[in-house]
Structures are given as structure tokens and as C-alpha cells.
């Protein structure tokens, strides 16, 4: 199998899906953002220039144009660049796109894709670092996709393009350079199927997007230092959500840590904890721990940023804490 970066795998998937789906268009397209790996998308820009609409900075109109274009048969991708910018267009995402199929009693479909990069980046401070997974999960009608590996980026993208529903596809700028072996032809990865990234016996860690790789590093640390065996699970899509794989893992380990870059209160981790305790009360050996952003805006200063960051060390610490319960 060839080794590819996340950006290269996603680019290959863009090429494949544009080839297969003539109605796939992009308004605008800025994959990879400010990452040095943004240049990996050059083949896509060169080959499918006619599918890309350069656009003004008008998120509310662009998100709404995506809704109307999808209703009329196109497969529009509205690229808002950073998830933070999705707030500028959020009404058309959560209160229009998400409601179309339901409000029409299933008569009208709205297969628009909203693409954004999500996740905390160094030095980006309070307004460009927002993680919206939880807000979006609070709006029924949206599929939410968070690919954490090169193959997942490629395979989940194919499923997003084929979806009949509004889909928010959020990758992460820091993942663009991640390398892994990727099959020469990536198959579509069904939504709602978690990936067991690493098997283990003692503690389950559920993590999303860039935090998945940090959870794996934490697992390696605690295995070496404390002989704790950690299972890491990436749900890959929040909607639909693969509760079953996580429940099975917690029934085996009896211990759970949830690590994610949304804000602590009403965040993604809070929802995962609620679902697991509903089904695994008798299996849990102790309280579930969350590793999240605290309830504070993201600061610019380096020492302050370190306080809020979701790191392998903080995940390892939480794993050690839950491992003490017998």
C-alpha cells in the first residue's frame, strides 16, 4: 500500500468524486487552509477548475446558496474554511439546511456539504479556534463527519458526496501532514461506524479528530509507564453515532475517558458520557473522566494556551485516574 499524507489522500478522494459525480461543485475551495500541505491539493485545482466558484466573504449567502443548489439537484460543497467562520453562516446550516427534509415531510432533499477545518491551532486565539461539533450535534438533521486519518478522510469524503442529507465535513489543519498507508483505491466508509484505533483491556478512550492521535500517544505512554492497556475508539461521525462499538468496549474495560476539543459544558464529551452511563451503569468500575477545553475562550499567550490545550499528557493523567477504580 502506498504511504500518503492526509492531504494527499483527501485530494485523491476529491479527484475520484469529481470524476464520478458531475454535479459536485465547490463554493469556494480552500482545502488545507494555511497548512504547508495545502499545496497537495494542486492536482484537484488544476483538473477541476470549472467546478470551483471563487466567492466573496459572504458566509450566510454562500451557505444558503448551498441549500438552494442542493435542493435543485447539484452536490454543492460550501467551503467556509475555518469552523469558526461557520458562525457567520450558521442560520442557513442549523435552521435551514437541517430542517428542509423534516419540514417538507420528507419530500425535499438537501444534500449540501459544508466543509470546514476544525480544531485548536497554536496562536490563533479566541475567535479563530472555535470547535462547533457540539452546536451542530444539537441541531437534528445534520450529519457530522470528523475524519482523523488519511484513509478515513478519503473514505468518509466519498460517503459524504453520496449522502442525501446535509453533511458537515470537518477536517483539521494539523492533520494535513499526517502520513499512513492508504489503499490505492479507497472504498467509501459508511457513516456511523466507529474505528477501534487501538485495542486494549483496561481503559476505553473515545477521542475525535486531531485528539485521536494524541489519545494513541497517551495510550503508549501509560502502557510503558504503568502497564495500563488502553483501547482507543474514534467514532468518526457524530451523526450518525456508533454507540454500540463504544458500549461494547466499556462493557469490557469498565472504565472510560472521553477526549475532545469542544468546550466542556454541553460539549461532545458530555454527550458521550451521558449515553454511555445510560447503557453501562452496571459495567462501570468508576466515574468517567473528560479531557476537553475548559469553559474559557482560547487565549493567545503560550503559557495560557498550554493550560487549555487537550494534550496526550492530560489524557494519560485521566487514564491513570480511572485505572485506579477496581
Amino acid at each position: 500500500m502506498p504511504t500518503m499524507t492526509y492531504a494527499e489522500a483527501l485530494c485523491q478522494s476529491l479527484l475520484d468524486t469529481c470524476e464520478a459525480e458531475p454535479n459536485l461543485i465547490f463554493i469556494p475551495a480552500a482545502f488545507g487552509g494555511l497548512s504547508p500541505h495545502a499545496k497537495s491539493f494542486a492536482p484537484f485545482y488544476a483538473r477541476f477548475r470549472d467546478r470551483i466558484y471563487p466567492a466573496p466573504i459572504s458566509e450566510i449567502a454562500l451557505c444558503g446558496i448551498g441549500v438552494g443548489a442542493a435542493i435543485a439537484g447539484l452536490r454543492p460543497v460550501i467551503d467556509v474554511l475555518s469552523a469558526s467562520f461557520l458562525y457567520q453562516g450558521i442560520a442557513q446550516v442549523v435552521n435551514e439546511a437541517a430542517n428542509v427534509h423534516y419540514m417538507t415531510d420528507g419530500k425535499t432533499r438537501c444534500p449540501v456539504i459544508f466543509h470546514a477545518m476544525q480544531g485548536v491551532l497554536p496562536g490563533e486565539a479566541a475567535q479563530h479556534n472555535r470547535c462547533l461539533s457540539a452546536e451542530l450535534w444539537n441541531s437534528p438533521g445534520l450529519e457530522i463527519v470528523l475524519p482523523a486519518s488519511p484513509e478515513d478522510a478519503a473514505g468518509l469524503w466519498k460517503t459524504a458526496v453520496a449522502s442525501p442529507n446535509p453533511t458537515v465535513f470537518m477536517d483539521h489543519q494539523l492533520l494535513m501532514g499526517m502520513t499512513a498507508e492508504v489503499p490505492a483505491h479507497v472504498e467509501p466508509i459508511p457513516f456511523g461506524q466507529a474505528r477501534v484505533v487501538r485495542s486494549g483491556r483496561d481503559v476505553t478512550v473515545v477521542a475525535t479528530l486531531a485528539v485521536v492521535e494524541r489519545a494513541v500517544r497517551a495510550a503508549e505512554q501509560v502502557e510503558a509507564s504503568d502497564s495500563i492497556s488502553v483501547e482507543v475508539i474514534d467514532p468518526r461521525t457524530l451523526v450518525p453515532f456508533d454507540e454500540e462499538t463504544i458500549v461494547q468496549s466499556v462493557r469490557k474495560t469498565g472504565r472510560l475517558v472521553v477526549a475532545d476539543e469542544t468546550i466542556r459544558s454541553c460539549g461532545v464529551a458530555a454527550e458521550v458520557v451521558a449515553r454511555v452511563q445510560e447503557r453501562c451503569w452496571g459495567d462501570l468500575k468508576g466515574p468517567i473522566q473528560r479531557v476537553t477545553l475548559p469553559d474559557v475562550p482560547i487565549p493567545f499567550s503560550r503559557p495560557q494556551e498550554a493550560v487549555v490545550a487537550v494534550t496526550p499528557e492530560k489524557i494519560a493523567q485521566a487514564v491513570r485516574l480511572v485505572a485506579r477504580y477496581q
Binding site: 454535479n23 466567492a55 442542493a70 435542493i71 447539484l74 442560520a91 435552521n95 419540514m103 444534500p111
Partner: protein, 336 residues
């Protein structure tokens, strides 16, 4: 003129339909905020008679008149307003979100300016597919206060999208309907058509109580739109029906009486001035009467027919089951 007599009959049907809606609400047959189109009937009919059913349409929270003029089944619309299983969208939407997907009214956003970028997006799809369709996008003067309006005007002008933006300004005093600048208390522009000028979008003012004027203008603009000239903006001016002054529609002055066509002074004081100067049914009726096409007896008969049709619509809609609780969780997502 006989064609105009049919227009009058359709306007009367819309009026009696919405009077029935008000009565149903007041006796508790449905809940929730709703909006009526009384006084604007000529605008919807004039515009949509100029547009074939193959064009898309996006409407608003004030959609009853647009849907009826478009040709949606009145019983389906009434059932929708009542939350019944046979409603146009299964009783899911109510008055706010009444839509007619089968008639290319794909979905109804009830948020001010929510539909404007959606109409532009559908126009983008049309342009990309190369068909000669266009999109009619209705909204009120309030939508011109929203940011989404300006972003969409810019984009649709840049991309020369085939959209007819039909802005219904329903708060214009009678003397200003046909011409001139009319300032709004909630907008700094001297005239709403001034607002689109910097984008290079042609803006047109029309008296929204004048069926023929609206139809003629929209016919001409639709042709330009189909030629690829890009979007057009119309401000259709009507005067607010006194029953729509309050937060909730009210049957101010009682139901419309067809005798007011000949004797507007006979209307109750609350609606007298509006009836004489601004009611599109009275204005058209007077024209037909002056041309010898309508007499009191004929109109009274027409009205009895229309009332009978509306009574049947109400009866059939009320007889339906409510949209069932068992379906509550259906259609959050479309099946793959």
C-alpha cells in the same frame, strides 16, 4: 375583460380562504403565529400568471396567497395550516412552512430573508444545468433589512443568476403605490429600489394592487431573466390591510362585503378608507363595473360560489386526521 373577471373570482377565493383561516384560528382549530395575504392578492396572481409552472418559487411566512396563486390545492393548504395528515407537507410545516415540492416550491423558510440565498442557489443550479428556468423569490420589505439580502444581491449580480426578486412592500400609503420614492421608517434608503442599484440589479416599482401592471412587468422581466441578463428586483407596493396592523391577524371591520365595490363608504369605519383606496378586489371590481362587465347581482353570485368552494375546503380539511404522533421521528434524515 372576461379574463379579468376570472382574476377577480380568484382574488375573492383567496380572500374568503384567509377569512376562513382567521375564523378557524379564533375558534381554536390551530395554534401558533400566522400571517395573511389580504390586500396583496393582485400581486401574487399578476406575477405568477406571468410565470410557467416549470419555474421554481420560494415563498415566506406570508405564503398562503403565493401558494394559491401558484395553483396549489386549496384543501391541501388548508389541511397544512390545520396540521392535518393531508396537508401539502403532511401537516409538518403549518402556515409558517407551507410548501409545495411537487409544484417546484421546494421548502418554505419562515425566517426573514432565509429564502433569499436559497433562491439564488437554485438559480445557480439552473444556470449550471443550462435550462431556461428561473426562480421567483418572494419576500417582504423587512427582508431588505437583513444582511443575507445584501450578500445575496452581490453574489447573484456577479454570477448573473436567473432570479426574480419580488419584494412586497405592504406598508405603503395609497398615494405612493404607483410611483416615486417612499421612505421606510426602518430603512435609511430613500426607496427600496435604490438599494439594489449599486449592484447593477435593475429595480422596478409597481402598484401591487394592479393585477395587469404586475403581470405585464413580470412578463417582461422574466423574459430578460431567461435571456441571461441576471437578476431583477421588483418592489410591489400595497397598503397594509387594517386587520394586519396587530401582532395577530384580526377580522377588522368584519368579513369583506362585495357591496363595498359599489359603495366603499358603506364599509365599517376601521376599514373604510383602506377599502376605498387600496383593496385590490374593490379596485378591480370597480374597473369591471365601469366597463359594464360586472353588476352587483353577478358579483354576489360569484361570491356565493366562492364561499361555497371555501366552505367545502374547510369541511374537507377539518375532516382529516391530525398528522399522527407515530410519524414524529420520521424524515429527520433522508434514506440513502
Amino acid at each position: 375583460m372576461s379574463a379579468l373577471r376570472e382574476v377577480l373570482r380568484r382574488m375573492l377565493f383567496m380572500r374568503r380562504f384567509e377569512e376562513a383561516v382567521i375564523a378557524l384560528f379564533e375558534r381554536g382549530d390551530f395554534e401558533g403565529h400566522y400571517h395573511v395575504y389580504i390586500g396583496q392578492e393582485a400581486t401574487a396572481l399578476g406575477a405568477l400568471d406571468a410565470i410557467p409552472p416549470t419555474d421554481y418559487m420560494y415563498t415566506t411566512h406570508r405564503n398562503h396567497g403565493h401558494l394559491l396563486a401558484r395553483g396549489a390545492d386549496p384543501t391541501g393548504l388548508m389541511a397544512e395550516i390545520l396540521g392535518k395528515v393531508g396537508g401539502l407537507v403532511g401537516g409538518r410545516g403549518g402556515s409558517y412552512h407551507a410548501a409545495w415540492p411537487e409544484g417546484l416550491v421546494p421548502v418554505t423558510s419562515a425566517l426573514v430573508a432565509g429564502n433569499i440565498p436559497q433562491a439564488a442557489g437554485t438559480a445557480l443550479a439552473i444556470k449550471r444545468k443550462g435550462t431556461d428556468q428561473l426562480v421567483v423569490c418572494w419576500f417582504g420589505d423587512g427582508a431588505v433589512e437583513e444582511g443575507a439580502f445584501y450578500e445575496t444581491m452581490n453574489l447573484s449580480a456577479m454570477w448573473k443568476l436567473p432570479v426574480l426578486y419580488l419584494c412586497e412592500n405592504n406598508s405603503v400609503p395609497a398615494p405612493y403605490r404607483a410611483m416615486g420614492q417612499y421612505p421606510s421608517s426602518t430603512h435609511a434608503a430613500r426607496s427600496l429600489t435604490d438599494v439594489v442599484a449599486p449592484f447593477g440589479i435593475p429595480g422596478h416599482v409597481v402598484d401591487g394592487t394592479d393585477y395587469e401592471a404586475v403581470r405585464q412587468l413580470v412578463t417582461e422581466l422574466a423574459a430578460r431573466c431567461r435571456q441571461g441578463d441576471g437578476p431583477q428586483f421588483v418592489e410591489a407596493r400595497t397598503s397594509r390591510w387594517p386587520g394586519s396592523y396587530g401582532l395577530w391577524p384580526a377580522q377588522t371591520g368584519g368579513p369583506f362585503d362585495v357591496r363595498w365595490v359599489w359603495e366603499p363608504a358603506g364599509a365599517p369605519e376601521e376599514v373604510r378608507e383602506w377599502t376605498a383606496s387600496s383593496d385590490p378586489i374593490v379596485l378591480l371590481g370597480q374597473r369591471l363595473a365601469a366597463a359594464g362587465q360586472l353588476d352587483p347581482e353577478g358579483l354576489s353570485q360569484l361570491d356565493q360560489e366562492v364561499k361555497g368552494e371555501v366552505a367545502t375546503v374547510v369541511e374537507e380539511a377539518l375532516a382529516q386526521e391530525d398528522a399522527p404522533a407515530a410519524q414524529t421521528l420520521a424524515h429527520v434524515f433522508a434514506d440513502r
